[in-house]
C-alpha cells in the first residue's frame, strides 16, 4: 500500500459487534481479525493461517460466514458482526454450542469457534441440511485434532431438531 492509498483508509469506522456499537481503527488494524482480537479484545476468533484456508477466524457479517483474516476492517463500516462471544443469547448457549459439548466435538478446541460460526451461518441458510451439504459447507474449516466426524454429528443434531 502506498502512502497515498493509506490516506484513503479511514482512521476510524463504526460497526456493530455482538449487538453493541463499536469503533475500529483500520490503519492500525487493517484486517478484521486484528481489529477484533487486538483492538476489541475479542480473542475467541482465532488466527489459523491468515490466508482464508482454515476457517479458524470465521465470523458472521450481516449473517454470512466470512473469514475475518482476509476481510479488510474498512470494508465492514456499518456492518453487523457476530463473533463466537456473541452467539449465546441471554446467557443461553446457542444450540450448536450445546451440541458441540454434547457430542464431544472438540479436542484442543482451537478450531471450534470458527467451526461453530461457519455452521451457524450454514443453518441460517439451510436449517435442515443433509450430511453431504454439511460436509460441503464445512470443508474449508480445518481441525488438526481431526475431530471431524463428531463435528458433523453435532451439526446434524441441531439440523435434525
Amino acid at each position: 500500500m502506498t502512502a497515498k492509498e493509506a490516506e484513503l483508509v479511514p482512521e476510524a469506522i463504526d460497526l456493530t459487534v455482538n449487538g453493541r456499537p463499536r469503533q475500529a481503527h483500520p490503519r492500525l488494524y487493517p484486517r478484521l481479525l486484528q481489529a477484533l482480537r487486538e483492538e476489541l479484545g475479542l480473542t475467541g476468533t482465532k488466527y489459523g493461517c491468515g490466508e482464508g484456508l482454515c476457517g479458524a477466524c470465521t465470523v458472521l457479517i450481516d449473517g454470512k460466514a466470512v473469514r475475518s483474516c482476509r476481510t479488510l476492517t474498512q470494508s465492514v463500516t456499518g456492518k453487523n458482526i457476530v463473533t463466537i462471544e456473541g452467539l449465546a443469547e441471554n446467557g443461553n448457549l446457542h444450540a450448536l454450542q450445546q451440541a458441540f459439548i454434547d457430542e464431544d466435538a472438540m479436542q484442543c478446541g482451537y478450531c471450534c469457534p470458527g467451526m461453530i460460526m461457519n455452521a451457524a451461518a450454514l443453518l441460517r441458510e439451510n436449517p435442515h441440511p443433509e450430511k453431504i451439504e454439511i460436509i460441503e459447507k464445512m470443508d474449508g474449516n480445518i481441525c488438526r485434532c481431526n475431530n471431524y466426524s463428531r463435528i458433523i454429528a453435532a451439526i446434524r443434531k441441531v439440523a435434525d431438531q
Binding site: 492500525l28 483492538e39 480473542t43 460436509i135 471431524y148
Partner: protein, 728 residues
C-alpha cells in the same frame, strides 16, 4: 486468615501476580492443608518413585475445593480432564471439587514433558498415589479430631464419616482446623492406598472435556489469547533460507518509527510495536536492508539419496542393533523364498491449529512467560540460557494449548517474546504465522527402511533382516514370532530441522513392516489376516487383530474385493498398547484417486480411565494418520519450504473422513498405557494394503499418492526408493 468459605483460585493468581513461589502460593491459598509430593523431579525419570517427602501436589481449601498441581499440560489430548477425574476418584470428591493447575513452573511439580504417551503411565499413578495418601491423612486427622480409631471412618463425597455414630466432617472443615501441616510433612505418596479398578466410581466412566463450555463460547484463553496491560506485539526477522547468516542490516528506518522498539542480539533481529500490523511493517522496512550469506541446502527431490549418503560415522558399518535372535544368514540361505524391498517416507509437519505463541512480561528482573509448549520446565531452562538469568527468576505458564502432536517440545516463541519484552520494557506478544510455523518449527523425520525376509515351504517366516535409515526406532521391533531376526537403525545428518512427531517413528516402521507382511502373505499365497495370526503369539496383539477383523467382517470383505475396491489390515504395538486396523478403499486408477471409505480399528491400552476421551483420541489418530498416509509431504529446495501453507500442504478435511468404527478393549487387569499416539500407527499400511488388494500395485512410499496409480508400472509393479544400501 481469610473468611472460612474464601479461597483463591488459580485463575486469580495467574492473572494478578507475576512472580510467585510455591510457599507464597500456599499462603495465598489461606489456611489449608499443604501436601507435598515429588518436589524436584526432573525430566521423565522415574527416580522420584522412591519415597519422597510430601510437597505441593495438592492443597485442600477451606471451602472444600482441592487444588491439584501438575507440571503436565493439556494440549488437546485431554490430560486436564483425565488428571482431574483420577484425583476426584482417589480423594472421593466430585469432579467439580477439583481445581487442576497445569504447566506452571512456579506452582507445579516437574512431572516431565508432556509427550511419549507418558501422562497416563507415569503421572496418573503419581497423582493417584498422592491423592490417595492425602485421603488417608484426612481420615487420620478426623480420627484425631474425634479421638477415635481411623478404622471406624470412611470417606464419601469429600466428607469423613464415623460409621458408628454417623458424625461427619468435611475436608473444608478439617482444613479450617489448624496444626496439621506437620502431620502432612511426614506423609508421602502411597501406591498401596489407590482405589482398585473394581471399586472405581469416577475412573473408567465417560467424562466430557471439563473446559468444553469455555471452548464453545470463545472464553478459553489459549496462549495466543493472553493479553497484558500495555502489551506490544513482536515480530522477528526470519532468514530467507535455512542456514542463512545475517551479514548486514540497517535498523534505523524502524528505530525511527514512533512506538517501535528494535532489538538485534547476534543473529536475532526483532521488533515490537503497539499493534501486530505496525510490527509487521517495521520488520518489512528493515528486511529490505538485510544482506545474507547463504549456503547450499539439499532438496526434497534428492531426499532419499541424501539420507543414504549422509549416514552418521558411528553407523557407517553397522547401525544400532535393536533386535537380534538366531542366525540370520543361515536362515536366509535355507529359506524357500527370500523377499527384499525398500520403503520410504517424507518429512511431514504437525501443523497444529494454533501456531507457536508466547507473551512475556518482565518485572524487577524476573520474567513470566505464557506459552504453548509440552515442556514448561525445559523451556524455562532454555530461557535461562538465552536470557542469562537463573531459572528462579523465570516463570513459565502453559495455558491449555491449541494442538501439539509432539511439535511444540521447544520454546522458540517464548525466547523471542522474552528478549523483545526486555528490550521494549513492556509485555510482548509473539504469535508465529502459519508460514513461520511451516518453515521454522521442526518436521517429523523422513526415512528409508530396507527389509528382507525368508519364508519356508510351509509359509512361515524364518528370517527377518531390517534396517531403518534415519526415521528412528519406535515400533521397530518385529512383534511376530520369527526364529531369526536382525533389526538395526542408522542415523543420518538431517537435511532440514527435525524433531519429534505424534508416535515418532512408529508410523514409518509399521508402514514398512505391515506392507511387507502383506508382500510375504502374497508370496506365501495366504490371506493377510491368517498370515499375521500365524505369526502372533502375543495374546494382546491377537485380541485386537481378532476384534478388528471380526467387526470389519474381514472374510466377507476380502471376498468382495474388486479392481476398484480393496481391503487391508495392519497391526502393531507401541508404548504398551496394541492396535489393529482394517481399511476399505475405493480407487480410481484413471483419475489417480484413493478414497478411504471405511476404517475399523481395535485398540487396547490396559484399564480404560476415560472411555469418552479414549474414543476421541483413537478417532483423531486414525484421521490424522490418513494425512501422512495419503497426502502430507514437506517439499523443500535451496533452504526454502516450497509448500509452507494449507494451500499446498494437504491435510485431512471433512470430505476425507471415512466411516469410523472404533473398538476399545478394556483390560482392567493391566496397567493403563497412554493412548494419544499408538492408534495412528496402523492406518497407513492398512490403506496401502487395501490399494494392493484392489490393484495389485504396491506403493512403498508415504504419502501413498493416488497419482502413482496413473503411471505406467513395470512388471515388478512396485514403487519405492531404490535399494542401494548394503544389507547386513
Amino acid at each position: 486468615m481469610s473468611g472460612p468459605e474464601k479461597d483463591i483460585g488459580p485463575r486469580d493468581i495467574s492473572s494478578s501476580i507475576v512472580m510467585i513461589n510455591r510457599r507464597q502460593f500456599t499462603k495465598l491459598l489461606g489456611a489449608g492443608i499443604l501436601m507435598t509430593v515429588g518436589g524436584t523431579d526432573t525430566g521423565q525419570a522415574s527416580k522420584a518413585q522412591a519415597v519422597t517427602p510430601l510437597s505441593d501436589r495438592l492443597h485442600v481449601g477451606v471451602n472444600g475445593i482441592i487444588t491439584v498441581m501438575t507440571g503436565k499440560v493439556d494440549i488437546g489430548q485431554g490430560s486436564r480432564t483425565e488428571l482431574t477425574l483420577v484425583a476426584a476418584e482417589e480423594l472421593k470428591v466430585d469432579i467439580g471439587s477439583i481445581r487442576l493447575i497445569m504447566g506452571d513452573t512456579a506452582l507445579c511439580p516437574d512431572d516431565g514433558s508432556t509427550g511419549s504417551s507418558l501422562t497416563t503411565p507415569r503421572t496418573v499413578p503419581r497423582v493417584r498415589a498422592a491423592c490417595a495418601a492425602a485421603r488417608q491423612v484426612l481420615v487420620k486427622l478426623a480420627a484425631k479430631h474425634w479421638g477415635c480409631d481411623a478404622g471406624l471412618l470412611k470417606v464419601r463425597n469429600g466428607t469423613v464419616i464415623h460409621t458408628d455414630d454417623d458424625q461427619s466432617i468435611s475436608y473444608g472443615e478439617l482444613a479450617r482446623i489448624g496444626g496439621v501441616d506437620d502431620a502432612m510433612a511426614r506423609a508421602g505418596e502411597d501406591n498401596n492406598a489407590v482405589t482398585p479398578v473394581a471399586e472405581w466410581t469416577v475412573m473408567g466412566r465417560p467424562v466430557r472435556r471439563l473446559t468444553s463450555e469455555d471452548i464453545v463460547t470463545g472464553a478459553q484463553v489459549f496462549p495466543s489469547d493472553i493479553r497484558r496491560p500495555g502489551m506490544h506485539y513482536g515480530k522477528v526477522l526470519n532468514p530467507p533460507a535455512y542456514g542463512a547468516k545475517l551479514k548486514a542490516i540497517d535498523l534505523q528506518p524502524a528505530e525511527e518509527t514512533e512506538g517501535v522498539t528494535v532489538l538485534r542480539d547476534g543473529d536475532f533481529v526483532g521488533v515490537t510495536a503497539p499493534t501486530s500490523h505496525l510490527a509487521e511493517l517495521a520488520v518489512r522496512q528493515i528486511a529490505k536492508t538485510a544482506e545474507w550469506d547463504t549456503v547450499a541446502q539439499p532438496s526434497s527431490d534428492e531426499l532419499f539419496t541424501y539420507i543414504r549418503e549422509h549416514v552418521s560415522n558411528k553407523h557407517a558399518k553397522q547401525g544400532k542393533v535393536v533386535q537380534k535372535k538366531g542366525t540370520l544368514q543361515a536362515a536366509l540361505d535355507r529359506a524357500a523364498q527370500v523377499l527384499r524391498e525398500s520403503y520410504s517416507l517424507a518429512h511431514i509437519q504437525h501443523a497444529p491449529m494454533e501456531p507457536r505463541a508466547a507473551v512475556a512480561q518482565w518485572s524487577d528482573g524476573n520474567v513470566t512467560v505464557w506459552t504453548g509448549t509440552s515442556s514448561p520446565f525445559p523451556v524455562r531452562s532454555a530461557l535461562s540460557k538465552e536470557l542469562g538469568i537463573p531459572t528462579e527468576r523465570i516463570r513459565v505458564i502453559v495455558p491449555d494449548t491449541g494442538g501439539h502432536f509432539c511439535g511444540k517440545h521447544t520454546g522458540e516463541a517464548a525466547i523471542q517474546a522474552a528478549k523483545l519484552a526486555r528490550a521494549a520494557g513492556k509485555p510482548v506478544h509473539i504469535r508465529w504465522t502459519r508460514e513461520e510455523e511451516f518453515t521454522w518449527a521442526y518436521f517429523r523425520k523422513a526415512g528409508i527402511i530396507d527389509v528382507r525376509a525368508g519364508i519356508d515351504t510351509s509359509g512361515r517366516i524364518t528370517a527377518w533382516d531390517w534396517t531403518t535409515w534415519h526415521s528412528g526406532n519406535s515400533a521397530i521391533a518385529v512383534p511376530y514370532e520369527i526364529p531369526n531376526i536382525f533389526v538395526q537403525s542408522k542415523t543420518c545428518s538431517a537435511p532440514v530441522r527435525e524433531g519429534s512427531y505424534r508416535a515418532v517413528a512408529a508410523p514409518a516402521n509399521v508402514f514398512a513392516r505391515e506392507s511387507f507382511m502383506d508382500d510375504l502373505a502374497h508370496a506365501a499365497k495366504a490371506d493377510p489376516l491368517e498370515f499375521r495370526l500365524r505369526h502372533i503369539s502375543n495374546d494382546r496383539l491377537r485380541a485386537v487383530v481378532d476384534a478388528a477383523a471380526q467387526r470389519f467382517s474381514w472374510n466377507k470383505a476380502r471376498r468382495n474385493v474388486t479392481d476398484t475396491r480393496g481391503v487391508g489390515i495392519a497391526c502393531g504395538t507401541e508404548k504398551g498398547s496394541y492396535v489393529a486396523t482394517c481399511a476399505q478403499v475405493e480407487v480410481d486408477r484413471e483419475c489417480g484417486e484413493i478414497r478411504v471409505v471405511r476404517v475399523c480399528e481395535a485398540f487396547e491400552c490396559g484399564a480404560i480411565i476415560n472411555p469418552a476421551n479414549l474414543k476421541i483420541q483413537v478417532e483423531g489418530c486414525i484421521v490424522m494418520g490418513m494425512g501422512g498416509a495419503l497426502w502430507e509431504e514437506i517439499r523443500f529446495d535451496d533452504g526454502r519450504i516450497l509448500n509452507a501453507g494449507f494451500g499446498h500442504y494437504r491435510v485431512p478435511r471433512f470430505s476425507d473422513v471415512p466411516e469410523l468404527d472404533v473398538i476399545l478393549i478394556d483390560r482392567p487387569d493391566v496397567s493403563s498405557a497412554g493412548a494419544g499416539e499408538t492408534p495412528m500407527i496402523t492406518i497407513a499400511p492398512a490403506i496401502a494394503n487395501a490399494v494392493f488388494a484392489a490393484t495389485g500395485l504396491r506403493i512403498r512410499s508415504m504419502p501413498i499418492k493416488g497419482e502413482y496409480l496413473k503411471k505406467s508400472w513395470t512388471d515388478k509393479e512396485t514403487l519405492g526408493p531404490s535399494q542401494s544400501g548394503e544389507m547386513q
